[in-house]
């Protein structure tokens, strides 16, 4: 089932066109990887999906991005609802300087989703979902900043899960982590995809090959090729894709 449908998306930072006629269909409950060299627009694309680019002045998006049939580029879209539905994990783990508990409770409180016992339950479930509960159940009052980077990134995921999103956007979620921690996050992604649709931007081609079901290759603002991951890495149709994945580009 298609959950995200992007049609002829153009995106500009002032006069610089960062995305050129991007077309893409993302299937629900799959992991979709976006690869490409630095500055090719893959992060910009990701940030279009929850309209985080709105924070930057002078940006402009044209085209359509439909999430569950609704065009989210429309000015009538409620950004609060959109971002609740489409969560985002950043390159560097960014837990709030609050306790572990309060980090996860944050989304529930601002959206008034739960309180009291129910809130505690959801915090627990969210930590369990990212396999942190056993490690942290006695330390919920500690500052989230005291955790290791890997734990922090898991916490950021669990903070999203608490508000029950449908789509998780991950902008190079492992680039601040060591290889062991990276593998653990990747294992977690495999578990999470049962319940969520995941889009991951990564510099790391092995990572894309390991975790994703579909892969899109971006170059200079264009989506050069989009296909099943197996196909992209074994039989790419475009010469540029082949050059990139075999290391001849950049």
């Amino acid at each position: 089932m298609t959950i995200i449908k992007v049609a002829d998306l153009d995106f500009c930072y002032g006069k610089f066109q960062a995305l050129i006629r991007v077309n893409l269909e993302v299937e629900a409950n799959k992991i979709t990887a976006l690869i490409g060299p630095s500055g090719c627009g893959k992060s910009t694309f990701l940030r279009c999906l929850n309209r985080m680019n709105d924070l930057i002045e002078g940006t402009k998006a044209k085209g359509r991005i439909e999430i569950e049939g609704k065009n989210i580029l429309s000015s009538k879209v409620d950004l609060v609802d959109l971002r609740k539905k489409v969560g985002m994990v950043f390159q560097r783990p960014n837990p709030f300087p609050l306790s572990i508990f309060e980090n996860i409770a944050f989304g529930l409180r601002i959206h008034r989703l739960a309180k009291g016992v129910e809130l505690e339950q959801i915090v627990r479930q969210s930590l369990e979902a990212v396999l942190l509960w056993d490690e942290l159940k006695d330390k919920l009052k500690r500052s989230a900043l005291s955790l290791t980077l890997e734990q922090q990134q898991r916490l950021c995921l669990s903070r999203l899960i608490a508000v029950k999103p449908e789509i998780l956007l991950m902008d190079e979620p492992c680039s601040a982590l060591d290889p062991v921690a990276t593998l653990k996050i990747e294992e977690l992604m495999q578990i999470l995809k049962k319940d969520y649709t995941i889009l991951i931007v990564t510099h790391n081609m092995q990572q894309a090959a390991r975790v994703s079901d579909a892969t899109g290759f971006f170059l200079l603002g264009e989506m050069v090729e989009f296909d099943r991951t197996g196909k992209i890495f074994t039989a790419p149709q475009d010469k540029r894709t082949e050059d990139y994945i075999t290391g001849r580009y950049g």
Partner: protein, 294 residues
Amino acid sequence: MTRMKNRFLEKIIEAAIFLSGIVAVLIVVLIFIFLFKESFSFFVKENMLAVLLGRNWYPISDPPQFGFLPLMMGSLFVTMGAIVIAVPFGLAAALYISEVAPAWLKDILKTGIELLAAIPSIVLGFIGIVVLAPLIKNFFHLGSGLTALAGSIMLAFMAMPTIVSIIEDAITSVPRSYKQGALALGATHWQTIRRVIIPAAFPGIIAAVMLGIGRVIGETMAVLMITGNAAIMPTTLLQPVRTLTATIAAEMGEVIRGSSHYYSLFGIGLILFIITFVINLIADLVLHRRRING
């Protein structure tokens, strides 16, 4: 030959820099010793506890009474009043400047607030007498508008630049990733400010309050002009009060050198010095801890 000359020059420059550095510290120490020496015999003679807890300040009666308490209460009332007024406004102003205002307005506002710091305190005192005191008098139906409240309001203006610029600094140095994280979770701008930015900037806000207090408690000219200068124990902000600073300023000119009264003024100076020192120390510690954690 030139090498020796260079090395000699080097030594002189080093010594000069060292001297300028050490002089500031030395002066502080000397001032403290001076105040301590001048007031020591007074505190011994008049019984320190009786002075600090004495409720009557009649330095030229016979026998004189040197109770500091009404003066300390005067300073406390005026300072607390000023802080209660200045902190909410200062926080709001800092939030507006750092989070809401467009870039061009930001610069204008910041310059404007810094200009506020450049207004001589006597001018604020003057405005206080001519404009503020009559307003307070009419509004509260008082005999005179020269009250602790008038002092608090004028001093709030004086504390604002310090408070705004330090809070603004603290807010600006909150990592952008916190804000992004909150917004990406669907938080509104205001929720982000209240639940993430203010808690993250909290040490800076405390430091701003402390430095604001330090600024206000040492202020003399404006309070001398507009607080009414009655050395009585205040119970509300609508009474005239006399602060520690105003007492020294008002009485130093007429006091008989070498009398107990003369030395008592040094005692007041010492108390003020200690208060501001402790407040600045707390502010410094809070700010320093933030830097280590950040």
